[in-house]
């Protein structure tokens, strides 16, 4: 599977878009979506909530399990994807596009975010 070059990645398998006006879009990777199986429920953070890199800010539930959703950066939630809340299967069908999860105004970034190539190697290992 191809991890888009223009994105950056966390070791918790989230992707982060380039910031526009300080705001980035976040989702989970195709690798993560495949590992979860069919996603049936997504609990997203509230707009306005403060999130911290590496800390749980929601849940992703699949047929077999429930997983924490992490933010890859520190910041404030500016928007959540209502479409994915209504149709969680978007996480599986379009993880890098229609299945995005939230937008965050970044106040701090960890130093260990990965490039696409680094993440591809990380996910394969």
């Amino acid at each position: 599977m191809d991890n888009p070059q223009q994105l950056r990645y966390s070791k918790e398998h989230e992707w982060l878009s380039d910031a526009e006006g300080g705001v980035s879009t976040v989702g989970i990777t195709e690798h993560a979506a495949n590992a979860l199986g069919d996603v049936v429920f997504v609990q997203l953070p509230e707009v306005g909530a403060t999130v911290t890199a590496g800390e749980s800010c929601g849940e992703l539930e699949s047929t077999k399990s429930v997983s924490d959703l992490y933010s890859p950066v520190d910041g404030e939630i500016t928007e959540v994807n209502e479409e994915v809340a209504n149709d969680p299967s978007l996480v599986n069908s379009a993880p890098f596009e229609g299945g995005w999860l939230f937008k965050v105004k970044i106040s701090g970034e960890p130093e260990d975010l990965l490039t696409a190539d680094e993440y591809t190697a990380f996910a394969a290992g």
Binding site: N34, G37, D38, V40, T63, K64, S65
Partner: protein, 372 residues
């Protein structure tokens, strides 16, 4: 377990199909090939193909094979007609369930007992221990068979294309020897999905040929390979218990609402009889908890082990299996709950989902019953 998981005769086929594999009871088994929800829907509406070679086959032969099984199991096995199968259980002396089983009578003097993979050794050991004094032999046939199931409304049409066996004459819970794709098979009309379907016991060396022939025969009606993940949601919708979840050594068949499998009227003593008679009376007069179905009001999924709670937060039971139901479009669960809350429609039943008490409707099992 530190040993590497065992691989079935179809292992290379699963990998070529891109299956996600999982360790299940010491076996490396397909969890899913694509979307488990699509696999589930395929079995409900068309057909699905399963590798179930992890199941444990045990052959019991001899003049007193039926008498041994009547003594060792809770069912009336000696009365089974040749070519028929029965769902039954094996219990400990204290009445606790060691495993649930399907027993096929292959001949007057030959039975095949099919145990869960996780319990096959326990069942073998128990049968060996109970065999003393009977003119019968117990044989471990786990390596003698691969098991392939084709399940779903299109499965009779698919199987008919590649067998000369009389499938129309083969009733539910019956099994007969026949030829499938040119090889010898025991063809059984059994399954664990709530749909019509067949289970084919074949030699491991023939498994790939049978799998490929079924794949080809089912191509134009939408047969898909199916993993254990959808098998679990299919059996849950059909209200079928799973050992380790609804059935354990701590429960008798009566506690699990399956007292009908215990045949007190059969001749002679059987292991667990005295304890099971007491369990039957307790279940009749003063049942502590009952197995019920729960249907979610919300979208969060109950999982095995989650507490069932009353409106005031008192724990009144525990979830044994839970999953999003593709057929109902809502999360469902099976749970043991206090008898006072076990009536369908009981008020104020909730499941504690990681700290949040979500409302649930108590319903009678099964959640899904196929239209015949």
């Amino acid at each position: 377990m530190t040993e590497a998981p065992r691989r079935t005769a179809l292992d290379a086929t699963h990998r070529a199909l891109g299956a996600t594999m999982t360790d299940f009871a010491g076996w490396d088994m397909p969890l899913r090939y694509s979307s488990e929800r699509e696999e589930h829907v395929a079995v409900r509406t068309r057909a699905g193909l399963f590798d179930l070679s992890h199941m444990g086959e045990i052959t019991v032969t001899g003049p007193q094979a039926g008498a041994l099984l009547d003594y060792a199991l809770v069912g009336n096995i000696g009365a089974l007609k040749v070519g028929r199968a029965r769902y039954t259980m094996i219990c400990a002396t204290d009445g606790g369930i060691l495993d649930d089983l399907i027993v096929y009578r292959l001949d007057e003097r030959e039975f095949m007992v099919v145990a869960n993979a996780s319990n096959a050794q326990v069942v073998l050991d128990a049968l060996a221990a109970r065999q003393a004094g009977f003119d019968a032999a117990v044989r471990d046939d786990r390596d003698a068979y691969a098991l392939i199931a084709v399940q779903g409304p299109e499965s009779p049409g698919i199987l008919k294309k590649i067998t000369d066996a009389d499938l129309d004459g083969l009733k539910y819970y019956a099994g007969l020897p026949g030829t499938v794709a040119g090889v010898q098979a025991l063809i059984a009309r059994t399954g664990y999905t709530g749909e019509d379907g067949f289970e084919l016991f074949v030699r491991p060396a023939d498994a790939v040929a049978v799998w490929e022939a079924l794949t080809e025969a089912g191509r134009d009606v939408g047969l898909v390979p199916c993993g254990l993940s959808c098998r679990d949601t299919l059996r849950l919708e059909a209200g079928m218990p799973l050992y380790g979840h609804e059935l354990t050594t701590a429960l008798t068949p009566f506690d699990a609402g399956l007292g009908r499998v215990v045949k007190f009227e059969k001749e002679g003593d059987f292991v667990g009889r005295a304890a099971l008679e007491a369990a039957a009376e307790r279940a009749e007069q003063n049942p502590p908890r009952k197995l019920v179905g729960l249907v979610a009001g919300g979208r969060r999924v109950p999982r095995a082990g989650y507490p069932v709670v009353a409106a005031d937060g008192t724990v009144i039971g525990e979830v044994t299996s839970g999953a999003p139901s593709p057929t109902l479009g809502k999360p469902i669960a099976m749970a043991y709950v206090d008898a006072g809350y076990a009536t369908p429609g009981a008020e104020g039943v909730r499941v504690d989902i990681r700290g949040t008490h979500e409302p649930y409707e108590v319903v009678a099992l099964p959640f899904y019953k196929r239209q015949k």
